[in-house]
Structures are given as C-alpha cells and as structure tokens.
Symmetry: D2
Subunit: 340 residues, 4 copies
C-alpha cells in the first residue's frame, strides 16, 4: 500500500489518473492540487466521477504533499514541472512527471523546441524515459520517471522492433498521426470550441511539433545512429484516441509472417502491446479507455515499404495509464494492476 498525490489534477490527464488510481487496490490518494480550481470539489469539474470521490482541489504545498505521499504524479504544463520535480526529489519522493520537462536528455534540444532554459540539467540524466516496453528494468529502480508524450508512445512502439532488427531505414520514417481533441488538454482556446473542431480535420505544427525530438531521441538510441523523421499531427473530431500511420522503407526483404514474429517476440513481455492478425489494422475504438497499444503491419511489395499502424488512447497509454504502469513497476506491484 502506498500513498500518492497528483499535482495539477484538474486537467484531463489528472481526471484519468484519479479514475485509475481510485480502482487501484494498493493505492491511497492523499492530495489533489490545482491552482486554478483550488477549493472546488473535484466532482464539480470532473463529470462522471461525481459518485466516487468527494475531495477538494488544494493549492500546492510542496512540504505537505511530500510529507503525506510516497509517490507524486505531476501533471503540470511544460516548464512548470522543472522546479517541483527537483524539490520532491530532494525530499526523497518518487516522482512520475507527465510533462515534457524531463524527457529530452539534451538541454539544448529542450531549449530549442520548448523555448526554455532547463534549470536542472543534471536531473535530466537521472530521469528515466517512462516507456515500460523498452525501459522496464530502469523504471523499476528509478525515482524520477519522465512519462512519454502521447504521440511518441504510439510512434516509438510502432517502429522500435523494426529498427532494433535493422529491417527498415530509420531516416525514411514518416509518421502521420491523428489525435482526438482531448489531446489538446482542457484549455481555453477558441481552436478547441466545439463548433471549430466538429465536422473538421486540422493538421497542426506541420514539420515542427515538439514531440519530434522526443521520438528522434528514442529511435536514435534504438538504432544506435542519429535518426531524423517526418512527423505530422492532425486533430480529428473525436474525444480520445491516437492513430499513427507510419511508413518506412524496407531494408532488404522481409515477409509479413517474419515481420509479425519479430514484433511479437520483441513485445513478448509487454502485457499491453497487441500485434494484430495479418491484414488487420487497429481502429481508435479498439483501445479507447484501455492501456493497450494495438499494432497492425503490412509489407507493401509494390512500393517496398512497410506500413505500420498503431492505436492508443491518448489519455491512458498515452498519459495516465502509462503513468500508473510506471508507478506499478516503481512500487513492486503487478505491472497491469488497475489497468486491466
């Protein structure tokens, strides 16, 4: 049994964390903080939880949260996590940071893509990138886990086996991703008004989305060489789910059967990755409200390309479910606890 707190609990990832943790038999929630909604009942903000939890959002008090928690989730905007992470760490707490602040190992990349100096560059090295399918052992031993971005989760899981086995050309990777609107967060911006998103389809940050260097960092590690990719996100008129359609030039020849075996073997210890049957591709609905990542594969002989399609729920495997999966590993619980 551990006690946890959520710092920045009023957004959609906060809501999902609460929902999942509430069902977790070995977790007790201590504090839920929100600067915007402090004093407000969480049931007023988070519809559908009304019946379950009767707590109020509190203003963040680092000492109090640290004193009452074994592990702290931070679901703050990018840039806002740097300092509290350092402070909680100094107080000996385990931390899972859902922001991008501790994902990039290279502080100059962080500066370039997020426009911010990093005040704790030494901690960047200490942070473990929280993708359990790749870093399970490191996560188990870590006290600072940088929870991956939603798009990177879908794209990295989609191409990791291919690159690890040198079956595709890493620099030919094109990832065309489509996300539900909840991926933008509970943000006041006219772009997310129902009447602007509904019956619409919107490409954004074309060629310059901040998740690009995160994906490249991890794919470069797997490939053991510098990888540059094309990544284009689109906003789709649905609430949840990310579908990533990924194109990679084949290196040599591979049959679809061998390819599927390579993937199945690579993920044999990954309880949340499903390799779909031949000629079957994931749909967003398959994974919504689950922590699964479904992967469909095709070898296109006409174009000598491999097409990989992955689907995750952006708020679960792409954020809060993955965070709980990381917590389970860091706490010695069953990896799938509260997630199946």
């Amino acid at each position: 049994m551990i006690t946890v707190s959520i710092v920045g609990a009023s957004g959609y990832t906060g809501r999902e964390l609460i929902k999942i943790l509430f069902k977790h038999p070995q977790v007790k929630i201590a504090h839920l903080t929100s600067e915007t909604y402090k004093g407000k009942r969480i049931s007023e903000l988070h519809k559908g939880l009304v019946s379950f939890i009767d707590k109020k959002f509190e203003k963040l008090d680092i000492d109090k949260v640290a004193q009452d928690s074994d592990l702290v989730f931070l679901a703050l905007p990018h840039g806002k996590s740097q300092k509290p992470v350092a402070e909680f760490l100094k107080k000996g707490k385990k931390i899972i940071d859902l922001s991008a602040d501790y994902r990039l190992k290279d502080k100059s990349l962080y500066k370039r893509w997020y426009g911010l100096e990093h005040s704790y560059p030494r901690l960047l090295r200490r942070a473990v990138y929280g993708l359990p399918e790749i870093y399970k052992e490191e996560i188990k031993k870590s006290s600072l886990v940088a929870n991956p971005g939603c798009y990177p989760t879908g794209v990295i899981l989609g191409v990791a086996p291919l690159l690890a086995h040198r079956l595709g050309d890493g620099n030919s990777i094109i990832a065309d991703a489509k996300s539900g609107v909840s991926g933008a967060g509970r943000r006041l911006d006219i772009a997310y008004h129902f009447s602007e998103c509904h019956e619409n389809l919107v490409p954004y940050n074309v060629g310059e989305h901040r998740h690009t260097p995160e994906i490249e960092q991890e794919l470069s590690k797997i490939s053991k060489k510098k990888i540059t990719i094309s990544f284009t996100p689109h906003l789709v008129p649905m609430d949840r789910g990310i579908l990533s359609t990924i194109y990679v030039n084949l290196e040599g020849k591979v049959s679809i059967d061998r390819l599927r075996n390579v993937y199945k073997n690579y993920y044999r210890k990954a309880p949340f990755v499903k390799i779909l049957p031949k000629a079957t591709f994931p749909q967003a609905r398959n994974v919504v409200e689950t922590n699964f990542c479904e992967i469909g594969l095709m070898v296109d002989r006409r174009t000598k390309r491999i097409i990989i399609i992955t689907a995750i729920d952006n708020l679960v495997k792409g954020a809060s479910g993955q965070a709980v999966q990381n917590m389970n590993l860091m706490s010695g619980f069953r990896e799938t606890e509260a997630l199946l």
Copy 2:
C-alpha cells in the same frame, strides 16, 4: 442597391450575415467591425470565406459606418447594442439589431431577465419585433427592427396559428428545445470545449432562460391574454439547428387535417414556413443552411394534446437569415432574395 455594414462581425451570426449578404445582388458591404479582431483579415477568422472576401475587421467608428451605410446590422452581445442603436437611429439609418436589447417592450422585464437598465425605453416602443411571418407590414415601414432570438423564432412559429385560432390552451404550453452548439456563439468558455460538448447532452437555464419572456410577450399578444410557458433549452452535440418539441393541451376537438389546414392558411404568405405532411416530423438536417422553418403536427387523442415539432437553423432563420429577410422587407426587395 443598398450599402450595409455589420457591427460585431466576428461571431457566428456575423459570419453567416457576411455569407448571405455576399450573395445578395442588391447589397454592397461597407464596414465589418470587431473590437476583438480589429485589423485581422476576416478570412483568417471565418473559415470557408477565404476565397470570397478580402476585407479586414475595423474598430467601430459610428460616424464612419453611418456615413457609408444605408442600413446597419448590429450583432453585438446583449446590453452592448442599446447605445449604438440609438445613435445610428439619430443619424437616420435603418437598423436591424440581432441582440436582445430591443426585443422586450417592457423595460422592467428587460431589467429582470437581463439584469440591466434600459437607457432608451422610448425606443423600445418604436422597435418592431422582426418576425416577418407575423409583422411583415410593420417591418416594411420600420427603421428599427429587433431581430428575434433563435429559440423564440422556432417556438412562436410553432404555436402562433394554434393560439390565433384558440385551438389550444396557451398556459399549458411546454416547449422543450434542443440546439446545436453554435447557438452559444463563438465564446471562450470551457463548457463549449469540444471534449465537454461531444458525446454529451446538456440541459441549461432550466425554467429560467432569457428567451422565455420574449416568447411569452409574443404569444400573449397573439392570444390577447397573458401567457406563461415552460421552456427548457438543451445543448446537443451538433453545430447547427434547433428542434423544438412543443406540447399544448387541446381546447375542444380538432382533426389533424383541419389543424394542418389552419397552419397552412396562417402561413400562406410565408415563403419560409413549410407544414410537413401528416405523420411527418422535421429533422434538424432538413433545414440546416436554409432559412426555412419546418413544422410537423400531431393530434394525440390518448392524451388530448397537440404535439408540434419545429426545426430551424439557429444561425439562419434563427438569426442572420431572418435579419436578411427583414432587410429585404425594409428595403423593398423580394422577401426571399439571397435566401433561396
């Protein structure tokens, strides 16, 4: 040929006005004002108009607008129209006000439901309620038309013939209305975030929506007695359209055939009202992007009630289309010009 301007042209009703007026062969647009977006190209804000119009929003300059316009549309928030209406009127301009500021004849009602004093109570009497199906002749002669609210348009058109012919009990009227989200306007409010409206259905202002006194004022006039109604609006996860389901206790007996004839006769000179065939009811889609109001009727012998269902596009017949219909009447144009 007349020249018109739109004051407050950046909202959804502004956008629809521009779209309709652009197609109008006898209208030239002079100024489009917006305090929030002044200096911005309208094509940046209003998607889909990019190809048509290359104008910028301007700050409101009453003298300039008055000088360059024969007729002014005001699409400002409630309360903000009072003064500019008075000023444009003083300068001899024709005005169509899409706000609620000149709809209620009784300034104490305005105060009670809108929480504001009315600074120009004498103009209230001068304003004509811009529902052409009822006030066509008055509108033709008026220089100040108060364009009806979206809900009142659907409800009043639905019950006017019934009350005029004393076939139903005015005080038994229950109007249960369902609107697309564009009815809320282009407003920054978390309640209209895609992820809050989508896959949701939200009753609001139950028993206390501001359109209630507007409906009651008009129904009382038609009935020649004070009418009090129940009116409940709901937000539906679609962009456009209002469906009003209206229940009225029968007074005496009436067959569905006679009822349909009463309605058809009442609206024989109304080019935008369609009485649907027996046992047929309107759907929102039937009228979207049109200025029509469709009406379906049922006489329910089991409950001795008449059920009336009306559908309009909240942004067209419920706002900008109706405004242009009024402009056509005020300017001596064909009533349906640019609207068919």
Copy 3:
C-alpha cells in the same frame, strides 16, 4: 460462483453484458449465442474486447445452454424471446430477458403495441419487472425477470417518488426523451448511417413509441390509478446516454428542499440513484459507462410545474448494467458487484 450464458450476444447490449460480466468475480460465462454471427470470434465483432475474451459465437442450442448455465440472459429482438424464455424456465433456469416480451402484464396491450400474440400469457404474471429501485424484494425471489426498457428506466425513476407522494398530477406527465444512437441497436437501416445521424436531431415514433404502455403500466401501479402520459423520443448524434426531461403539474405546494428530501428518502436504499444538488441538472456524460441514474429537480413557481431531468446510460442502467444488477439480486450477490 455461478455460470451464465447470453443468448443473442452480438448486439450492443450483448457486448456490454460481456464487458460487465467479465469483470464480475462470481460469474463465469458459458455460452454466447448469435444466429447471425455464429462461428465468428467475438473479438472480431466487438471492438475493444479483443484483448479480453477469446470465445466464438455459437448457434443457440437450448439444451446445451441450459445444461451449462445457472442463469440465462436473453438479448433477442422483441417477439423472439417468448419461446426460449418458456423453455429455459421449464428447465429450471433463472432468466433475465432484455426484450420487451415479458414486460407488459396485459397481453392485449402487448398485441396492440407490438403487433404480436403472446403465446405464454400465464408467464406474464410470473415475470417480475426488473427495476430494482422498486421491486428489489420480488426480484430476489424471482426466476423470471423482465428487464425494463431504456426509456422507461429513466422516466419511471424520475417520477416514481412524486406519484408515490401525490405531489404531482400523473395525467399531466410529459416526458421528452433524447437518446444516443446505440439505443437503436446494431441494426442495418439507412436511418442509422453515420451521414444520416451526424449533425442531425430526429424525433421519432411521436406519440406512439412502444415504451409508452410500459411506462404507463408502472406509473399506474405506483399511483394506484390509470395514468396516461405524453412520451416523445428523439435521436441525438451521440453514441450513448438518455436524458429525459419530464414536466408534471404540481398538486398543492412543495418546496424544492422538501421535494429533494422526498426523492432522497424514496431512494435511500438505491445505490445507483443520485439526487443532484439544488439547481443542478444531469448531463449525459455524467453517467455514461456507469450504472447510475442521476436526477435533477426544479419547482417552477411561475408555471406551477415540477421539472425533473434524469440521465442514464441506455446500454448500462438502461439495459445490461441493470440486468447484472438484477442478476446480483437473484443470486444473493452484492447489488453493486461489477457495477462500481
């Protein structure tokens, strides 16, 4: 621990039953039948269950199902349940029938509204109407439960306390209901094509929906007099959820505080009914994917009416969740097992 089977498991209520029962610690699923999809893996049809269950749909074999099951759920179309219910009953099985076949006590009403003769009129008397908030004790002892319709669940729960306490006029009840499209079932009909439902709002069976006599039967029982109501269903462009807006003329006077107390007291032993705070009304999202029924109340002094708004998930409290709640009661399990 009991073993159950689902007859007609390929529809949306079948899918939800599987999802809920799969999480139930005291239930094992024996057979899932479907005439249309027999031989097909359920994971091919029911998206999102792919990871959980690896069973195939079977052709219905009553002997085999009876032999292997303690309790049988029937999720067949109306009219198709009459016979298998009788047969399973003869074999001593407990039955929860999700069709309308055993809901109406009066076989002439069944004939009139469903157009079918009832071949087992004696069983009609034996069947218990499966609304646990009203018939909990009868359900516990029954072996044949007729699971209520989705609309009746929302409407009956909304007005039962009012009628039981004679606070409203039963014959003034107007229930205006709005449902997500999954309520129509997984049916091949052009009316449910995405492009027909999306960005649309459709009233249907106005004044003649088959759920009307079911609601009237139950309300008449509670009122101890014959009740006739107006009931109008609408199809809303969302997948799940029913919102019922109900209008009742006040009898005498009642304050909102007293009214809320009456409701809270009436449902004090009902774990799935929530009476919302004053001036608060349910939204569809609040209850989606839950077995809750939320109720918001208003006393409108202007019109001397009570307005009641209820929300349920049509597939959970309106069908499969309620069926499991009934199963829990019939089997001596905790009423909320697998439903919280």
Copy 4:
C-alpha cells in the same frame, strides 16, 4: 440552356448534383432515375431539398432519358456504368460518368483492381479524365468525361506542379488521406452505422485502395515515367471533406517562396485551386460545401521532404461539383457557373 438527367440519383453524389444543378441558370433537369427508390419523391429521401424540388425517382429508360436530355450524368456503382455509357454515347449524348468505369486507360488495370472485364475497351481511349485543372481543353471538346475519384482529385492536384517541374521524386510519394464518412456513399453496411464510425478513426484498404492506379496513371503522365505511390485512406468521424497529407522527397533545393510561385503559376487559370499563404495549411471546414481545393505547402529542411496538404469536399470538388465544372466546360458555360 441545356437539359440534363441524372442516372442513379439517390446516393449522396446524386443529391449534391441535384442541389448544384438546381441553382444553375442554364440547366433544366429532365429525369432522375433510381432503381431502388423508383416512384418515391426525392424530397422523402434527400433531406433539405424538400422545399425545392417536387420530382419522383424513375426507373431508368435509356431511350426516354436520351430523348429528353442533352447531357447525362451517371452516378452508378462501379461496373454498372459501362453499358449505359456506351448506349448514351451511341445516341449522341454528352456524358459525365461519376463511376470508375472509364477512368483507367488500361483495361488490364481495371480488371486487376475492380475484378471486372471491361466490355468497351475502345471507349476507354475516347474518355477524357475529367480533371479540369489539367485537361481543360480536352474536356471542352469531349462527349465522354470520366469524372475523377475523390481521393485522386485531392492527391493529383497536390503533386502535379511538383512533378511537372521535377522538384520532387515521384516514386517517394506517400499520400496519407482522411475522408468523411459520406465518401463511403449511402450504403447499408454495419461499418457505417453511426455507433461504429462515431468516436472512431479507421484505416482501410491499406496499400490496396482502388484509387491507387488512378492516381498513378495520372502522375505517370505528368512525370513522363512510371510512378508508384503509397496511398492510405482513413475514415474520420465527420460527414464531408478529405484532407490529404502528402510527403515527397525533394530533388535538389527549392525555397518555400519559389515552390509557392510554381504552384500559383501552374494553377493560374484554375479558379477553384487556392494556394494558401506560407505556414498555413487547409482544414476540412475551409472547403466543405464548396468546389475549392486548398493547398498548403512546406519545405522541411530537416528531412529534405516537401509536405503538401490539400483539402476538398469529397462530394463537391471530389464528385458532383467537379462534374458540374466539367459540364460547364463541355457546354460552353462559364467554368464557375453555379459553383461560386
């Protein structure tokens, strides 16, 4: 003034044709045929047209249609157009065929991708591919125009200038396309049930969609060499609109300014193609209910790729609007008549 008929007028492309032609000042509609709905009023099927047209669907009678029409639109399923096209042609009629039957010049490709023999291979050569931005002069002189598929329209318009100017590698083209559900047509298939499409995102025919050879045929012509492309369509939960995100490897160097100029120049006589400002990309909404194709361009120096995003309305520029544009050219009318 010409008289036209629509063979197969009950689908969504039929409905859009009717809507556009109804507004066309130089066109009179003679016959609307439908085998499925013959005898039915078109207003019963096509919502929103109820007020405009009071015609019935007729059974196809080739002699009668030919006698009464100058030009015939065929909106039949693939394979069903072969014969009527040949017969109308023999009778000297002008024809615009919206099916795929006369698009591919190579009958063996038609056989391979559509699984059908072509009975009129000689007519294939006579048919002009109806993309006015490329074949305007040929269309003007033709009496048989094969109207392009929706996806090919968006993809070909997106890369034609690039290939014509040898700025990109034709065999590196990856087109990732996303379409609204109306693209699937008014078809009875459970895959298009609202509850299956809504809140979902579905890739389909991955690597093997029938529009692939059509795109390759046209791009090969422009490039003057054989082009093979990757094309992946996805179904998005919206009604209308196609967004195509296209990736091409740069050949040599090109600045974004030069690239935009190349495109603007290539389309200088194309009234429906809009090259968006730098760093601006189209959204589906921009073009819905219009005949425009919007194109946004990016030169990505990091990856040495050009990213092209195009948007069209699948039912207008992707089908019926383009058909009317072709009719205008074939009939000597203004190219934009009824389309602006």
